[in-house]
């Protein structure tokens, strides 16, 4: 998965929880929880959506890697090399 693909996947997952959310224009190191006012429930929801899209389980400790656009893209492209 390319970083662009990862971004697109992330966008899809977040938009599911926050209708109309738009990742473009968001700083690469911005905290997603702050940017989209995700509480813990929202965040697990995003993780769950993400997991459903990419097709693999994301563990608790891995979810920490999803805090920013950058780290999430890195995590996703690392875990899902091809799509």
């Amino acid at each position: 998965m390319t970083p662009d693909q990862a971004r697109a996947v992330l966008q899809e997952a977040i938009a599911h929880v926050v209708p109309g959310a738009d990742l473009s224009g968001l700083a690469a190191d911005a905290d997603l929880r702050d940017a989209f006012e995700l509480d813990s429930l929202d965040f697990v929801e995003v993780v769950e959506q993400l997991s459903g899209i990419v097709g693999f389980r994301i563990e608790d400790h891995e979810a920490e890697s999803l805090r920013t656009v950058d780290s999430a893209a890195r995590f996703l492209s690392a875990r899902a090399p091809a799509r």
Binding site: V17, D39, L41, F43, V44, S51, I58
Partner: protein, 407 residues
């Protein structure tokens, strides 16, 4: 039109999910209704076949209006419609037949009670832009009268600043947000006016609970996975069972304990405002079940698909605002409840353990309680119970066998 909350007086039918001829069963979702608070799914309380849809989508009607009629399952006698609302669940037969002729018709209209509003009060509320759902009735048996509306209008002059209150087109998002703002304003004003609050704070070490969650999550699917909030709510429900003096309602100058712990969960909406749907009989839910309910509720609340039963009055409310990073939440009680539990952020802080300074994940729990109903000693007992539950997650967080049986 079901009453989707004790203070609801009218609603706008948004959408029918059934059509004439459709068979329906008790518990089916048959329509979506807009209250001033949110879009709510209307459940059917009888089995039968939809005979006719009486109210058109987009129509605002008072609570009690027949929305649709059902034929009995055998197609024979026209049986009650789904206008009977949650009350019908408790007393379906009463809802199904006309009320018996009162022996004293003279007094029939003094039955009063929540939701009764004088015509003048209704008119004034419209003129002054007051949301009647938030007005406390002081007439006989709680009837809302003109002076109650005037008092409410004075209590939140912001509403008065909009004298030409826009027609409450319920499904108009802006109008709804404004309505909701008014509701919250009036309710919180009422709370602070009526309820002598006291606040008690306790900081709790969560390291055992978080450890337990981490381990538990390994065995759970993605969609079952726990967050700390589920454990905090589980602990709250257990504490409320242990200290029932905080679980219930203050009505007519007396505390009425609730049979179950109906846990209200404050959800802030992205469009602004709050919803407080509840998790009924939460004392019977282990952390995993609690999590599933929280997740379902949150999802439906944000999707505008709450049900009538979600909006029945809680017996105790939890605010988990700490999720957003604040350290402590000293809340305002939702009348007629007598307590609210606020959780601050779970954060790693220095903590003395066995004479040594360590770093532990801590949460600050703040109990807001109604001094009319309880004194600080009881509040203190509640916080202690909550703490105990969080220190021994292995034995407290799972459903007991008894609870499993009851499920």
């Amino acid at each position: 039109m079901p009453s989707l909350g004790a203070d609801m007086t009218e609603g706008t039918l948004l959408e029918w999910l059934v059509k004439p001829g459709d068979p329906v069963h008790r518990g089916d979702i048959v329509a979506v209704v807009d209250t001033t608070k949110s879009a709510v799914e209307v459940e059917c309380f009888d089995d039968g076949v939809v005979e006719s849809l009486v109210v058109e989508p987009g129509t605002k009607v008072p609570v009690g209006t027949v929305l649709a009629t059902l034929e009995g399952p055998d197609g024979a006698p026209a049986e009650p419609a789904e206008d009977t609302g949650p009350a019908a669940a408790a007393a379906p037969t009463a809802a199904a037949s006309p009320p018996p002729p009162p022996s004293h018709p003279h007094h029939l209209h003094h039955g009063g009670g929540p939701g009764r509003i004088s015509p003048l009060a209704r008119r004034l509320a419209d003129e002054l832009g007051v949301d009647l759902a938030t007005v406390h009735g002081t007439g006989l048996h709680g009837v809302i009268r003109a002076e109650d509306v005037r008092a409410a209008a004075e209590a939140h002059p912001a509403a008065e600043a909009q004298p030409a209150s826009p027609p409450a087109v319920g499904h108009d998002a802006q109008a709804r947000a404004l309505d909701m703002r008014h509701s919250i304003a009036a309710l919180m004003t009422r709370s602070n006016t009526e309820i002598p609050h006291y606040h008690l704070t306790l900081t709790v070490d969560l390291h055992r609970t978080l450890e337990w969650i981490r381990e538990r999550n390994v065995g759970l699917t993605m969609s079952e996975r726990l967050v700390p909030a589920a454990a905090l709510m589980r602990a709250t429900a257990l504490a409320a069972t242990e200290v029932p003096e905080l679980n219930g309602h203050w009505v007519d100058d007396a505390f009425r304990p609730s049979e179950h712990v109906d846990l209200g969960l404050i959800l802030s909406l992205r469009t602004g405002g709050l919803l407080v749907p509840r998790i009924g009989a939460a004392e019977g839910l282990g952390a995993v079940a609690m999590m599933a309910r929280v997740r379902d509720l949150t999802r439906r609340a944000r999707g505008g698909r709450l049900r009538g039963s979600d909006l029945e009055p809680p017996s105790l409310t939890v605010s988990n605002l700490g999720d957003q990073g604040v350290e402590s939440v000293a809340g305002v009680i939702y009348p007629p409840q007598v307590a609210l539990v606020g959780f601050g952020a779970v954060s790693e802080r220095p903590w003395a353990v066995d004479g040594m300074l360590g770093v532990r994940p801590l949460v600050t729990v703040t109990l807001a309680a109604d001094h009319r109903a309880t004194d600080g000693a009881i509040g203190s007992r509640f916080l202690k119970a909550l703490d105990r539950a969080l220190q021994d997650p292995a034995s407290t967080m799972e459903q007991t066998e008894q609870q499993q049986k009851e499920q």
